[in-house]
């Protein structure tokens, strides 16, 4: 490091920093960058890598941002301490983005344009291209290993245990051993160059900890795919769309591993790549109607196209599981950026009076659990279940509790009359008779019984016996029963996660999905500012009583979400009949995952300007920590 640099102040930190890799997409950087993140993870330090990639295949800037935080804050923090830049296109901006005192690692094979120089950050030049030119002949290998080399260099600069890296390589190339040596060699090239040319470590260091426990590092889409396997899905119909594609990819990968009949080699599942999303949801509805557990995964544009079918499924009461991995809308919007902006569209999808059950996972484990239980839920409620995740959770490796399955658990297929029950039945079968007075009626699978239990499913109005009718009273009865079913649903969906401040507070915060990590971190920071806030994380729509109580118990409630129009806030107001003045919107909608700093700032500013000083509840005044 240059003397001058040594003089100026530099960021000093142990196991707590944000590093960003600036690459060109299509250059094979992803695997190298993963290597880096995983190594730190294996050193027992929480990490949260986020891919910031363009909507094209090759040649445009792509970033990989990794937050390292031994305290376990895995939301986005904001700000960048180290940039590793191997992309000339974005270099100027990448240099700007470094925090003062931060570090900028770049390929100095070509000298740096002096106009980009900053005196308040530390430049670390490594001749990556040159090294590769000397080491490799095949241009592809030159490009590919360039990435591995800078990871090696970082190992030296940040004190990453080299062995951890070599082990990772070994695991990664298991079965392709011939690839191990060259990769390790590339790591060494970088490692040694850094050792020889810089004073290592730099101000930012890694030191082994034991802070990840038995956590796993997995993306939400893979967890959803696994949830579908464990939830007993047999028919998947889909149409490719970023960022949901990897849900069905994962389902296929694991199904081929876990769902193939060893004897016949035949599949205990069927995946149909549909011609579009209308067909995909149609297939899902057809399969569920016929008694199979079936799902699809899509994103915003697909949801819009599925509107008509969703209305049919709601009205004809057909189960269906739909995973919406949200991206930045409206329209094609920013297909490779994240957002929580399909909430409204999904909650009330299709014309006429409709309401749909939504689930909001926050972690990969919840992606798994909620996907699996969505199949029970949809069959119990006989209405579509929409799982709302987003690009951030769906496509980024996220630290998560390990996945668990209770082998004692049995699928709940809901109210379905068997052949025996039909045979025993003396009265006439009525598909839409509300026998149990919970709004949920008994269905039959096609082909169950030769002469009993058959009925006609339709999107038109029908009476309790599924007979077509244009009688207004019969129509209204049916619509009212659907509302009753909606009430029943409130007790079936997962309850919210409520975390009250130590002694409780009169100020609350409501959030859901990927806002969780950043929100909890912000709450801690606010706490340091002596601002106590109770929090409620929504896990599902419709909202159950606990949500209404939480809102009733607080004077001011921040509703934090990642969309422009405060969609969840509106739904809370509508469905719980809340006075809007109580709910303060905190909105982030630039397509990047919301940061703790942003939430902290918004809340602090509001409380200051409104000079609200949060009261602590007296002890006893139900302040117990709920979860």
């Amino acid at each position: 490091m240059s003397k001058e640099a040594a003089l100026m102040n530099r960021i000093e930190s142990l196991n707590d920093f944000v590093i960003r890799f600036a690459n060109v997409n299509g250059t094979g950087s992803a695997s190298a960058n993963n290597l880096f993140a995983k190594a730190i993870f294996r050193m027992g330090i929480p990490v949260s890598p986020k891919n910031i990639f363009p909507s094209n295949i090759q040649g445009l800037p792509t970033w990989y941002e990794v937050r390292v935080n031994e305290k376990g804050y895995i939301g986005r923090r904001g700000g960048i301490d180290i940039v590793v830049c191997v992309n000339p296109q974005s270099m100027a901006k990448d240099i700007e983005d470094v925090e003062p005192g931060g570090y900028f690692l770049y390929d100095n094979t070509k000298a740096l344009d002096l106009r980009m120089m900053r005196r308040d950050i530390h430049f670390i030049g490594i001749p990556l291209t040159e090294i590769c030119r000397q080491e490799y002949t095949d241009p592809r290998q030159r490009q590919l290993f360039k990435n591995v080399i800078y990871v090696g260099a970082l190992a030296a600069l940040l004190n990453i245990e080299f062995e951890v890296l070599t082990n990772l390589i070994a695991d990664q190339f298991e079965g392709k051993e011939k690839l191990i040596a060259p990769n390790v060699h590339a790591l060494e090239l970088g490692f040694n160059y850094a050792r020889e040319n810089f004073q290592c470590p730099i101000g930012i260091r890694i030191e082994r900890r034991n802070n990840v426990g038995d956590a796993i590092l997995i993306d939400g889409n893979t967890a959803c795919g696994l949830g579908a396997i464990y939830g007993g899905a047999t028919v998947a119909a889909w149409y490719p769309i970023t960022p949901s594609t990897s849900v069905v990819d994962a389902f296929e990968t694991y199904a081929k591993r876990l769902r193939v009949c060893p004897a016949s080699g035949k599949q205990k599942f069927a995946i149909v790549q549909a011609e579009d999303e209308l067909a995909a949801i149609g297939m899902v509805i057809g399969a569920n109607w016929n008694g199979a557990r079936s799902f699809t995964a899509t994103s915003g544009p697909g949801i819009s196209l599925m509107n008509e079918f969703l209305g049919l499924a709601y009205f004809a009461e057909i189960p269906a599981v739909l995973i919406d991995v949200q991206r930045t809308g409206p329209s094609t919007g920013m297909p490779t950026r994240t957002q929580q902006s399909d909430v409204f569209e999904c909650a009330y999808a299709s014309h006429g009076d409709t309401k749909h059950v939504l689930l909001f996972p926050s972690t990969p484990k919840e992606c798994f659990d909620m996907t699996a239980s969505a199949f029970d839920l949809t069959e119990r409620l006989q209405t579509p279940i929409i799982l709302l995740t987003d690009l951030d959770l769906g496509m980024n490796d996220t630290m998560s509790e390990p996945l668990q399955w209770d082998d004692a658990r049995a699928y709940d297929r809901g109210k379905v009359f068997t052949a025996e029950q039909l045979e025993a039945m003396s009265e006439r079968f009525g598909r839409y008779l509300d026998i149990d007075d919970d709004g949920i009626c008994y269905r039959t699978y096609p082909g169950t019984h030769p002469t009993k239990g058959s009925f006609f499913t339709r999107g038109t109005s029908r009476d309790e016996y599924a007979v077509y009718t244009e009688d207004g009273a019969a129509y209204a009865r049916n619509m009212d029963r659907l509302l009753k079913k909606w009430e029943t649903a409130k007790s079936y969906v997962p309850a919210p996660e409520i975390i009250n401040a130590e002694h409780g507070s009169n100020i609350g915060m409501i959030y859901f999905g990927t806002t969780r990590a950043a929100a909890l971190e912000a709450i801690d920071h606010l706490h340091e500012d002596a601002i106590a806030i109770d929090t409620l994380r929504l896990k599902a729509f419709p909202f159950n009583r606990e949500v209404e109580e939480f809102i009733a118990q607080h004077d001011t409630i921040f509703v934090v979400e990642q969309n422009r129009d405060g969609q969840m806030r509106s739904i809370l107001i509508n469905e719980c009949e809340i006075n809007p003045t109580k709910l303060v919107a905190v909105l982030n909608y630039d397509g990047m995952p919301i940061t703790a700093r942003y939430i902290h700032g918004k809340v602090a500013d509001y409380l200051q300007s409104a000079n609200v000083t949060p009261l602590r509840r007296q002890a006893g005044q139900k302040a117990e920590r709920k979860s």
């Binding site: 993870f41 294996r42 956590a215 590092l217 696994l226 396997i229 464990y230 007993g232 047999t234 028919v235 119909a237 876990l258 009949c261 016949s264 035949k266 599949q267 205990k268 069927a270 149909v272 549909a274 011609e275 579009d276 209308l278 067909a279 995909a280 949801i281 149609g282 297939m283 899902v284 509805i285 057809g286 399969a287 569920n288 109607w289 016929n290 008694g291 199979a292 079936s294 008509e308 079918f309 049919l312 996945l403 668990q404 399955w405 209770d406 082998d407 049995a410 052949a419 039959t444 699978y445 082909g447 169950t448 019984h449 030769p450 002469t451 058959s454 009925f455 006609f456 499913t457 999107g459």
Partner: protein
Amino acid sequence: MTYLRPNFRHPDLPTNDLGYTKKNYEGSLSTLCAGCGHDSISAAIVQACFELSVEPHKVAKMSGIGCSSKTPTYFLGNSHGFNSVHGRMPSVVTGANMANRDMIYIGVSGDGDTASIGMGQFVHAVRRSLNMTYIVENNGCYGLTKGQDSATADVGSKSKKGDANPFEAIDLVAMALQLGASFVARSFSGDKEQLVPLLKAAISHPGFAFIDVISPCVTFNNNPGSTKSYEFVRDHLEATGTVDFVPMRKEITTSYSAGTSQEVTLHDGSVIHLHKIDEKLDIHNRRSALDLIQEYKEGGKILTGLLYMDKEPTDLHETVGTVHKPLRSLHEKELCPGNNVLQNINASFR
């Protein structure tokens, strides 16, 4: 388990191999116009299923939206039915079929339901060679929305034949052939002798079987050249600007033997020329079938009958490679890998 045969059976009625009477295959009363070709097709389906001795409840009746798509209510009352949304029947059948390969799927659609809004799904159902019988009740118009032209030829309207049809008419039979359907036929609603056997063959066919059935709409044959007696009424309706008068009609029936042509006069007095295919055609050759229908078309004739059949079609289940047991019947044990496996998966993410 086995069940007692339906006890309301009349001892005197003829029964099929399963001991069912035709009644067991009938549906509820039709609400279509008197004389609508669609009702004749429903009757033919009942007849075919009865003769085939299919178990009524092992059939799933699927449709989209339209007068034609309403008909599943009017046949096979002991079968589950699904009247889905406009133009999307194929996708619903695809899902249903994937869920349970052991049932018979009869899809009923209209020319609007298939050739307009449903074109995409139709094409891809053919492409996947789904094991189903796909019937288009083709009247060349949108019956239920009061008679707008559909994308198929103005079936049975001679007067139209003269003046240049504003748009290229879509011939679904030709499309099905070209897209690789493994069973392709065309018939006329009123020709039971031809239609029933075709339906039986289609239902028995272990792949995608397509039948385009010309099925006159008695109400909306909006063509000028028309019988005297009707003119009076039409003038009346035109004057009052109301189209709510539908004279009672009889269904049009016809019967002619293979290799011969037949003129059929429709309700409005117009005539269509049907030609029943003879054994000469090699029904195992797509291209010759395509050529022949084109040839007859140019001669102003509609070729009817079984036009192409592939004896060993590949069903989507083979392509996908699913187990023989219906997917919907697989039990939890067969589907859920359990927690041990999951823990190994966890390990792979550390």
